[in-house]
């Protein structure tokens, strides 16, 4: 029987930095022993000297704690999910308050207490604390996603308040990262909000992005969009990508090796050829729809449930009220993720896109 084993963040470096690994066996014990043979570092974390599962490790089969089943001898079936969750200092066990707060999630079998702990252990980076990043970060915070990183360099402007839900009237003039953190913590003090108050550039992207499990792109310009795409590919991080303008939106999920933004659009439009929100406008509530969808996709990836929008591009036209989905795939000729890549490290995106990173040249 081949099952998927969920590896929590603290153990991930012992298992090739993978969130899920496949292992085989007839019972939970056999699956874990198979895993231990492949990843000796994990063996000492999971088992004691007598090959018994350590007392501080909770093991779940399809979200049910195995002691409520048949313990380590519980049989497994093909496609089952086994989760190995250590009881760490720092609140890995759900407190009564957390059980209450997240009860509407925990009650669903697709989430359960195991899923809730996955959310609490997850680290998600949100690029841009604006129209898309706002609702995305907000719903992740409400869901208890443990660490939410926010990259932004801008200050809150009155013209942002038509759509950017993290910022309120009194926040005008405040750094967006600061305003975002205050709002997220006011909603849920249980999460850790990490601020990166700078424009994302080729100089800092590979320092910031590898610290996270998943990246949500709420960038508003092509220069940053190509940078985030490439950096996520090099850092092997899933990217929940979306873009909006006026009444239209696009959304997809890029998993390294299964296609990227350059497979869709190998080169950026000439500067000025595609208007931005400031020039053309954007319906405020559209950012709420699409940012929320980005939060949903990130949560699906964290929980390992459903069908993430990998290989599918969602096109939403708010005026016609139509959602369309186009199948997309990795382009073998892609300069980044193709068979014969020509881009092997971050490049000069300002030169490539003919436009500076916003905020880069600010006095």
């Amino acid at each position: 029987m081949a099952v998927n084993v969920y590896i929590p963040t603290p153990f991930r470096k012992l298992a090739g930095n993978q969130a899920y690994v496949q292992a085989e066996g007839q019972t939970v014990q056999e699956v874990l022993e198979h895993l231990a043979r492949r990843y000796p570092g994990l063996a000492t974390m999971v088992f004691d000297q007598d090959r018994r599962i350590q007392a501080h490790i909770n093991v779940y089969l399809n979200s049910q704690e195995i002691h409520s089943l048949q313990g380590p001898d519980t049989p497994v079936r093909d496609g089952d999910e086994v989760a190995v969750i250590p009881a760490l200092a720092g609140g890995q066990v759900l407190t009564p308050e957390q059980v209450m707060r997240y009860s509407r999630h925990i009650i669903m079998p697709q989430v359960g207490p195991v899923g809730q702990r996955k959310l609490m252990a997850a680290r998600v980076l949100v690029v841009g604390a604006g129209g898309l990043g706002g609702p995305a970060a907000l719903y992740l915070a409400l869901a208890g996603v443990g660490t939410i990183g926010i990259v932004d360099f801008d200050v809150v402007d009155l013209s942002n308040l038509q759509r950017q839900v993290l910022h309120q009237n009194d926040d005008v003039g405040k750094p967006k990262t600061q305003s975002a953190k205050e709002t997220l913590l006011a909603y849920n003090p249980d999460v850790n909000v990490v601020l990166h108050e700078a424009p994302l550039t080729s100089d800092n992207a590979m320092d910031i992005i590898p610290q996270y499990d998943i990246v949500i792109n709420g960038a508003d310009n092509f220069t940053t969009r190509y940078l985030v795409n490439d950096a996520c590919y090099f850092a092997r991080k899933p990217l929940v990508d979306a873009a909006i303008l006026m009444f239209d939106a696009q959304l997809t999920v890029f998993v390294p090796g299964q296609g990227c933004y350059r497979c869709l659009f190998p080169s950026p439009p000439p500067p000025g050829a595609v208007p931005n929100c400031a020039e053309a406008g954007v319906l405020g509530a559209l950012t709420g729809v699409i940012g929320s969808l980005q939060a949903i996709e990130a949560m699906k990836l964290i929980l390992g449930i459903g069908e993430p929008m990998v290989g599918r591009l969602l096109l939403y036209d708010a005026l016609s009220g139509e959602f369309r989905v186009v199948k997309v795939r990795r382009d073998p000729k892609c300069p980044l993720c193709g068979d014969d890549p020509t881009i092997t490290e971050l490049i000069d995106y300002e030169g490539f896109c003919g436009a500076p990173f916003p905020g880069r040249d600010e006095a």
Binding site: Q164, G218, D248, A249, F265, N276, L286, V325
Partner: protein, 87 residues
């Protein structure tokens, strides 16, 4: 031969329509169909930014052949994140 064309985002505004049925000749590619549309809809004539093409809801290369009854979608890149920080 006919194809159903779908225009997204800015293309729809430039053309003034979001979808149409157009008469196509034999052996046309997805890119050829867009050039055909540029002749039919003057607003599209000046469009020179990159485009993504999908035939029957599947992303294809510009050289992909279009057949009778196909649905051809033209998708321009969009960059906005609702942050509007361009300056």
């Amino acid at each position: 031969m006919k194809a159903r064309v779908l225009l997204f985002a800015r293309l729809k505004d430039l053309a003034g329509v979001s979808e149409a049925e157009v008469e196509i000749g034999e052996g046309l590619t997805a890119a050829d169909v867009f050039r055909l549309l540029q002749g039919l809809y003057p607003g599209l004539a000046s469009y020179d930014a990159p485009l993504a093409y999908a035939v029957n809801a599947r992303y294809v290369s510009p050289e992909h052949p279009v057949r009778d009854g196909d649905e051809v979608a033209f998708i321009p890149p969009v960059s906005g994140g609702g942050t509007c920080t361009s300056r």
